[in-house]
């Protein structure tokens, strides 16, 4: 523990984050394989992975860049539907599920990145509340567009329409996206393992980025925009870099999420989802990646565990949220945690010193 504390802060974060994910995988994967998990629990594994990726990527925008984005679910939705289309359209071309999943995730990420670029260019000129409002609007626009989007595939290729299925003009084709019903007939190819791989990939990207020239520039803009400009950092360039990276990762998470269900509707990615992810980020701590992982896991599981209390579950959820807030932010709680840490550390130290004396 002492040795661990003497490590550099960035190394410590990396070790804890990767460690938590790998340990979780080592525990949950055998349980899942041997069917020891309840159905409800097993069904939550991929969504949790997705939301962890969402929280980490949003933390890049909110915590590291310091801009409030309320439309993160919008990018998730772009990724989800692009991924679903890719996967359905390539069903015959790439029969191997893992490879198809990989391609779908990449395509989902690319399209979400393009959406991020298009939204980012005008939006990142704004600051604070205005940026939040515009990203919120973006999330709603995407949702409404997908709500009236019809996509089908037949031998001649993809057909897209904004009217109805008939106007697709397909010959014996398959409908992939059916307006308000969303993506239908998805082959469920997401697995827990692929979710873990995506989290590790996200951690790799975000942690590396934070601890690099680019990451320092992004943090510098958050800490003091004017000073960052005065040392020759192009504000727009680095804001966009952070924003696009964040949306690419959200798109990838979206694709993974969609491929875990047989149907996914656009209304799943509404304002509430954006806020939920923001709650994970805020309660996990701004710019704190490990915190995002832990907060997401706990807060996502609470409503599921409380399912048996039916009507009361959101009430209890609210209480849990308040408790987490109190515990993470109050000065007394911080002092308490420090004391606990100190106590544990000192005892270890004493033991070690005694060990030395005994030698």
């Amino acid at each position: 523990m002492l040795k661990f504390k003497s490590l550099k802060k960035t190394t410590r974060t990396a070790v804890t984050s990767y460690g938590i994910i790998l340990v979780a995988f080592a525990i949950m994967f055998p349980l899942q394989q041997f069917g020891l998990l309840s159905n409800a629990m097993a069904g939550q594994l991929v969504p949790i992975c997705t939301y962890i990726v969402m929280a980490i990527s949003l933390n890049l925008t909110v915590g590291v860049l310091g801009e409030l984005s309320l439309g993160h679910a919008g990018f998730m939705s772009v990724g989800a539907f692009c991924g679903a289309i890719t996967s359905s359209a390539l069903q015959e071309v790439i029969p191997a599920a893992p490879l198809r999943l990989l391609v779908a995730i990449i395509i989902g990420g690319i399209f979400a990145g393009i959406a991020g670029l298009l939204v980012g260019i005008p939006v990142l000129r704004l600051r604070g509340d205005y940026l939040a409002i515009v990203t919120l609007a973006f999330g709603e626009i995407i949702r409404n567009i997908i709500n009236c989007l019809y996509v089908g595939v037949d031998k001649r290729g993809l057909h897209i329409s904004m009217k109805d299925i008939a106007s697709l003009g397909m010959e014996n084709g398959r409908v992939i996206i059916n307006g308000p019903q969303g993506a239908v007939g998805i082959t469920r190819i997401s697995t827990f393992a692929s979710g873990i791989v995506l989290i590790l990939f996200t951690l790799f990207i975000v942690l590396n980025l934070m601890n690099s020239r680019t990451g320092r520039a992004i943090t510098a803009i958050r800490d003091n925009r004017i000073a960052a400009e005065s040392v020759g950092i192009s504000i727009t360039k680095y804001k966009l870099t952070a924003f696009i990276t964040s949306s690419v990762l959200a798109g990838m998470a979206g694709a993974l999420y969609a491929m875990n269900f047989s149907t996914v509707a656009a209304k799943k990615f509404d304002f509430n989802t954006s806020i939920l992810i923001l709650v994970f980020v805020v309660l996990g701590g701004m710019g704190n990646i490990t915190g995002s992982i832990i907060a997401t896991t706990i807060l996502y599981m609470v409503p599921e565990i409380l399912r048996e209390f039916s009507d009361y579950r959101m009430l209890i959820y609210a209480i849990v949220l308040i408790l987490v807030m109190l515990f993470t932010n109050s000065a007394k709680a911080k002092l308490f945690r420090e004391r606990v840490f100190d106590f544990v550390l000192r005892r270890k130290k004493n033991e070690e010193e005694e060990g030395v004396k005994n030698d």
């Binding site: 990207i205 590396n208 980025l209 601890n211 690099s212 020239r213 680019t214 990451g215 320092r216 520039a217 943090t219 510098a220 800490d223 003091n224 004017i226 000073a227 960052a228 400009e229 005065s230 040392v231 020759g232 950092i233 192009s234 504000i235 870099t241």
Partner: protein, 277 residues
């Protein structure tokens, strides 16, 4: 680590006699805010290794001049030439890359980052690594990071701050924060550094140390220094050329001795002598 002498940025071997070839020139610079003319008709010439001062009573427009020189404000009139090249239409970041670095009157550090990282941010355009290297931590990342770390420590060591490298910038004592701002500005490898009230809030011994440091910056890096300061003993002892502003206009220019004798300056600072009753 073997200690290295900081690299002189422009390859000028410092001589005791000042290089007067201009690094920075302004011609009839002026700016209006709405209908109000804040600063008007400022013409300055600053030599390559000259230490110059910009003084004047409060509200004279000194910081506004700095903001125009760094294009934080776009001047309404006049031109700025940096090393002979106009800076009109450039962003603040681009002007910095052209060779102007600055510090701020109210300290603007990246207070949540470490001292070392603050300087590394300053080295942003000096030691580059591309986005791909940033994300993968390979392809030149290790080499660039090591180079940045060494250079940053070298610069910090120049101001005897290397032992504070891992501290959080916001937790430093006031004087050290001011010094760190100067180190960060120097890290951008400028041709001229603008210091906005570097001695504000310092005691006499700290001020004396600061004066020594400013001379060392000029001599070692071979760059020009333009400073705004209210501490007259610092300005008079340090600067080779002084420009006095009042109500947004230049009222006097010259050597310290000329400025001390100038009736217009005395009037601006002390008020007009009343006619004998």
């Amino acid at each position: 680590m073997t200690k290295m002498v900081p690299v002189p940025s422009r390859g000028i071997i410092p001589e005791r006699d000042v290089d007067k070839r201009p690094i920075l020139e302004t011609h009839h610079l002026g700016i209006d805010f709405g209908g109000l003319t804040a600063v008007d008709d400022i013409s300055l010439t600053i030599g390559r290794t000259e230490i110059s001062g910009l003084i004047g009573p409060n509200g004279a427009g000194k910081t506004t001049v700095f903001n125009m020189l760094t294009n934080v404000y776009q001047p309404t009139r006049g031109t700025i030439l940096l090393d002979g090249k106009p800076t009109a239409g450039k962003t603040t970041a681009q002007v910095n890359r052209m060779g102007i670095a600055r510090t701020f009157q109210n300290i603007r550090l990246f207070s949540n980052m470490s001292v070392l990282d603050n300087v590394k941010v300053g080295l942003h355009n000096e030691i580059k690594e591309n986005l791909f290297a940033s994300v993968t931590h390979a392809f030149g990342y290790v080499k660039a990071e090591r180079k940045a770390r060494e250079r940053a420590l070298e610069l910090l060591d120049f101001f005897s701050m290397a032992d504070m490298a891992d501290a959080e910038a916001g937790s430093l004592p006031y004087g050290a924060q001011r010094r760190l701002e100067i180190v960060r500005a120097l890290a951008t490898n400028p041709g001229i550094i603008l210091l906005d009230e570097p001695a504000a809030g310092m005691n006499p011994s700290e001020t004396a140390e600061l004066m020594e440091n400013i001379r060392r910056i000029r001599d070692t890096f071979g760059i020009a220094v333009l400073l705004i300061e209210h501490d007259m003993s610092l300005v008079m002892n340090l600067c080779e050329g002084i420009c006095v502003l009042d109500h947004g206009k230049v009222i006097a220019k010259g050597s310290p001795d000329e400025i001390k004798q100038n009736p217009a300056v005395i009037e601006a600072y002390l008020g007009k002598k009343k006619e004998a009753e």
